[in-house]
């Protein structure tokens, strides 16, 4: 492809050999070095800077601009301490995705009605869209990104890979997290118990059979 100044490519598409099919051979270093035009890709620190600027400029602002209460929090995400600056009304999903670059959990509905944002908090599946980030302080947060260890897929990920557990795969992160919690509390779940465990995760592609078989397969291997 021609190296014009659209050459910058967002993070995550750095020739990932797992084949997300994006740019071929450029490394992330090349891309960032090669960027022109002032648009540099970064994975975090997007919200806070702009909010501070806006607040500083407007003071109390017009009638519809309110004081924004923000603070620095420490979260435990996938076993690591992460420090973030969030506003009180920022949800955990928003923080995970846009501050920490952990984009596996998705905005499916933002209303606790679909499960695409399911993450584990202290091992229990919750809807990240419906939890304020502040409420997650002091808990262990586990996301899909935390499952792979040293390039080795977690048995659930391996099972979803083998059994075509995702079609469009937008629900897959949430499904796997719910499946993980289920298996931890019930190591040998029946088909019905698997369905109950996944009953808070919608799959619009209708791939439920494959999701059930993948969870059952993973349970056997774990």
């Amino acid at each position: 492809m021609s190296e014009d100044d659209t050459g910058q490519v967002p993070l995550g598409s750095d020739g990932d050999p797992e084949g997300d099919g994006l740019i071929g051979n450029l490394s992330r270093r090349d891309l960032i070095k090669g960027t022109l035009g002032g648009v540099i890709v970064a994975s975090n620190a997007y919200l806070f800077d702009h909010v501070a600027v806006a607040a500083a400029k407007t003071g109390t602002g017009g009638p519809s601009v309110r004081q924004r209460f923000s603070g620095t929090l420490t979260l435990n995400v996938n076993g690591r301490k992460r420090t973030v600056n969030v506003m009180d009304q920022d949800t955990l999903l928003r923080t995970l995705r846009y501050k920490l670059g952990l984009t596996a959990a998705k905005f499916g509905c933002d209303r606790a009605m679909c499960g695409a944002c399911t993450v584990l908090v202290d091992g229990k599946p919750v809807y990240g869209c419906t939890m304020f980030t502040r409420d997650a302080v002091g808990s262990e947060i586990t996301t899909l990104e935390g499952l792979e260890k040293n390039g080795q897929l977690h048995p659930l990920q391996q099972a979803f890979l083998e059994d075509l557990g995702g079609q469009c795969a937008f629900c897959t992160s949430g499904m796997i997290m719910s499946g993980l919690s289920l298996i931890k509390s019930n190591p040998n779940p029946s088909r019905d118990e698997i369905k109950q465990g996944l009953s808070g995760n919608l799959c619009r592609c209708g791939n439920y059979e494959n999701e059930i078989s993948a969870v059952a397969k993973a349970a056997q291997r774990m």
Partner: protein, 810 residues
């Protein structure tokens, strides 16, 4: 069947699966940028209104707001939904848009926009707008006119429907379907249906509605656009397709396609609703043009209800005549189709529905009359079998009813009427290239245990009654006129730059299996290309169940080009004539010891240049290849063996159609109205099955969505205001994992090759939905001995039927 293939018919792990299970797969909202602006829209709070005045000054002055656009700043559209509309025809249609430094500021800016409205008359019900003196959904008329084409044909021919006004002045609107109907815009016949009905031993007549539902893919449609000051526009989008999306968006925002590139790597479902570009995709592009910064619009779920392109609706009136053995002697169908206010899609709904009825039922005589209307409801776009699956839902229970009334077996009745290869389809009686619906029925019956189960129909078990039903559906599933592109690199890898999008069907990769099969190359030497418009060959969109055939065929064509080049190169290099050489197992050889590996042949190609490396394009290909395809090979020219392919007229004679047959076992709780689907078998005639695991997944998925269509989903409106009233997912209910069959779904395929399909394959995705939906509703109707003219059939509908004494349960 498909037993001599290396790749086709075998399972494999497609190249995007690992990214999906690790969370690395990036959908449009996952890309992170510094300097990103966020777009939100100001939406109409009325079903139909006109902006009298709009004041965006407060929004523009707000700190952090970088751009504000109104409907005055965007191109108008004659019939489709513009990006922003000054006379919004649907509740929730955007009128203005802002781009701000963060989403909170964007939301505040939208709240600061002031609009004075002139509220106009609205109409929600499609029959209502045909009544004399009734409101029109649009100021310029109440019906789309022009040729009724399938959505794919409309795009290919760039047909431009027009708008007119029709009222049925002399109709009687007191019956469920108006009698003495007025003008229809679609009229065609097979033979003389009045004779067909006259000779029938039994006639069934009924009015059935096929209802609107929201498509609701899991991923709301988010898009990022970056329009740079040098005129180049890059988009990270959510779309099922690549080529049509790319050209469509360029046209919609007034950009030169050569200046546009799109990243369309992963799409979280579409089911038709993201088939090409859509207005929301234009908004960030137009905003970005103002500021030359990347702009994202993060789609919300609520917006999917407003502009997410649902299923068009039909009111059908059938009069069907049967011989005493169940053969359909006459099918008289009238329908009013409604695709909302913003598209001519009612016309393709009509085409799809009527063609499917003709193909599936093969009536001896047929009369089809139809008209499409506008209503102030969300634009409906092709949703999984648009028209075809509406027809299936409506008509299949009538066939079971006929069987019962004639005292013959339902399956026997179906088998009297199923199409076989060469039978006609549609207005022009185009011959079906292949049709094995009868076999699909029999396979479904076998898997389902129909012979044992059928006696359960109507059987009481405590509070429950059992119901057994069946149904079928079809969808045109293959087109020609599209491009393929394959490159063999000097290292021997074969890179297939196919053009299908990635919406979860794995067809983007399966079409490469088809091409690789032709090339005889081991799969581990193949690189699948997808997700970037600048490296995609031009093909049809990923809708209409067509990709496996259409894009597969174009890739097979490219592979055939590659084979002929390899033969020529080998002959040139090793001696003899090209026809002495075969291409198989990653090499080209003549069987007498002269061979070249693909790597060696590619290196030779590079030194030979000319057509082998894209430095010269053969005249016939040059004429037919789309510029997008040529551009997709741009960086490879002179560096690899480049093989283009194009499918054209001679490659297809007839109508490519895929079929599914399904059987369902339900129980209905007479005390609570709850329906449980116990067991469902859904089998398809989709030609050669290319990727078995994905094939089963498509049928399962279609069946589960079809169960939702029959049992749980509906767009509901407040009639007085015309406002959609159930715009949250717990109100507008897609099936959860607890809402489909109790037994594992039984799925499979006939797996007989189509003569024109690539290695015999046809398309897959839509018929399973209509077959399942119709089998489930037939089962309920059979079990209760009741007829349902409206769906979904929920507990309240069952209880109402029982209370009205309209069931025949003991």
């Amino acid at each position: 069947m498909a037993s001599n293939f290396n790749l086709v018919g075998k399972d494999y792990i497609p190249p995007d699966v690992r990214a999906k299970v690790t969370g690395r797969a990036k959908y449009a909202d996952d890309y992170l940028f510094d300097n990103l602006l966020h777009a939100k829209t100001f939406k109409s709070p009325y079903a139909h209104a006109r902006v009298k005045s709009i004041d965006t000054s407060a929004a523009e002055k707000m700190s952090g707001v970088r751009a504000v656009l109104t409907y005055k700043d965007v191109p108008a559209e004659p019939i489709n939904q513009p990006a922003l509309d000054g006379e919004p025809l649907v509740f929730g249609t955007p009128v203005a848009a802002v781009a701000a430094v963060d989403e909170y500021t964007a939301a505040d800016a939208v709240d600061a926009i002031d609009v004075e409205w002139e509220v106009l008359d609205h109409v929600i019900d499609p029959i209502e707008t045909l009544k004399p003196g009734s409101p029109n959904a649009r100021s310029d008329g109440n019906i789309p006119t022009g040729k009724s084409l399938s959505e794919a044909q409309a795009r290919q021919t760039k047909s431009n429907p027009t708008i007119d006004t029709v009222k049925w002045d002399n109709a009687d609107f007191s019956t469920p379907y108006p009698t003495n109907a007025g003008e229809y815009t679609v009229n065609w016949s097979w033979g003389d249906v009045s004779k067909g009905l006259a000779k029938a031993d039994h006639v069934i007549e009924d009015t059935v509605e096929a209802h609107p539902v929201v498509t609701n893919p899991m991923e709301p449609r988010s898009n990022v656009a970056y329009w740079q000051s040098n005129g180049k526009l890059r988009v990270w989008g959510s779309s099922q397709s690549v080529g049509l999306t790319y050209f469509g968006l360029a046209g919609a925002v007034g950009a030169n396609p050569a200046d546009v590139s799109m990243i369309l790597n992963f799409c979280g479902g579409g089911f038709g609703s993201k088939g090409t570009n859509y207005p929301q995709m234009s908004i960030p592009a137009l905003l970005s043009k103002e500021v030359n910064q990347p702009v994202k619009i993060r789609g919300t779920r609520r917006e999917e209800f407003y502009w997410g392109n649902g299923r068009s609706s039909n009111v059908f009136h059938f009069k069907i005549g049967f011989s005493k053995t169940g053969r359909i002697t006459g099918l008289d169908v009238q329908t009013v189709a409604d695709a909302g206010a913003y598209s001519s899609n009612a016309l393709s709904n009509i085409s799809g529905a009527l063609t499917a009825l003709s193909a599936n039922l093969q009536p001896e005589t047929m009369r089809a009359r139809a008209i499409g209307v506008f209503t102030n409801t969300p634009k409906r776009w092709p949703m999984r079998g648009p028209g075809q699956n509406q027809a299936a839902l409506a008509v299949e229970p009538l066939l079971d009813r006929a069987a019962k009334e004639l005292g013959i077996d339902s399956l026997k009745l179906r088998l009297q009427n199923v199409p076989t290869t060469g039978d006609p389809a549609g207005e022009n009686k185009t011959p079906l290239t292949s049709a094995h619906l009868g076999e699909a029925y029999q396979m479904a019956a076998q898997a389902f245990g129909y012979d044992q189960k059928k006696s359960l129909n109507g059987k009481r078990e405590g509070n429950l009654v059992h119901g057994i039903g069946m149904g079928s559906a079809s969808h045109q599933s293959g087109y020609v006129g599209f491009d393929g592109l394959m490159a063999i690199h000097p290292d021997g890898t074969v890179e297939i730059r196919q053009g299908a999008g990635n919406l979860g069907t794995y067809s983007y990769s399966d079409v490469c299996r088809l091409g690789a099969e032709t090339l005889g190359v081991p799969w581990d030497q193949v690189t699948v290309g997808w997700g970037r418009s600048d490296r995609s060959s031009f093909t049809l969109g990923q809708f209409s169940s067509n990709t496996t055939f259409t894009t597969g065929l174009s890739q097979v064509k490219a592979a055939e080009t590659a084979v002929s080049y390899l033969q020529e190169i080998a002959a040139n290099s090793r001696g003899g004539g090209p026809s002495d050489y075969q291409v198989a197992n990653g090499e080209v050889s003549n069987g007498s010891g002269d061979s070249m590996t693909l790597a060696e042949a590619a290196k030779a190609a590079v030194s030979m240049g000319g057509k082998y490396t894209g430095e010269a394009i053969p005249a016939d290909l040059k004429k037919s290849l789309n510029p997008m395809t040529l551009a997709a090979a741009g960086d490879l020219v002179g560096k690899a063996l480049i093989a283009f392919g194009h499918s054209g007229g001679p490659d297809l004679k007839g109508f490519v159609d895929s079929f599914n047959a399904a059987m369902a076992h339900v129980t209905i709780d007479l005390g609570t109205g709850k329906i449980r689907v116990i067991d469902l078998a859904d089998y398809g005639d989709s030609g050669t099955i290319v990727h078995p695991a994905s094939y089963h997944a498509q049928i399962q998925g279609g069946a589960i969505q079809g169960i939702g269509y029959a049992l749980t989903e509906l767009m509901r409106f407040d009639e007085q205001t015309g406002i959609p009233i159930n715009t949250d997912w717990y109100q507008n209910k897609p099936p959860s994992i607890l809402d489909y069959t109790e037994q594992p779904l039984k799925t499979g395929g006939v797996n007989k090759p189509d003569p024109y399909g690539p290695h015999g394959a046809k398309g897959v995705g839509e018929p399973p939905y209509g077959a399942a939906a119709s089998a489930v509703t037939a089962a309920i109707q059979n079990g209760l001995g009741a007829t349902f003219q409206h769906h979904p059939i929920t507990p309240s509908d069952v209880l109402d039927k029982i209370a009205a004494g309209e069931t025949k349960v003991s």
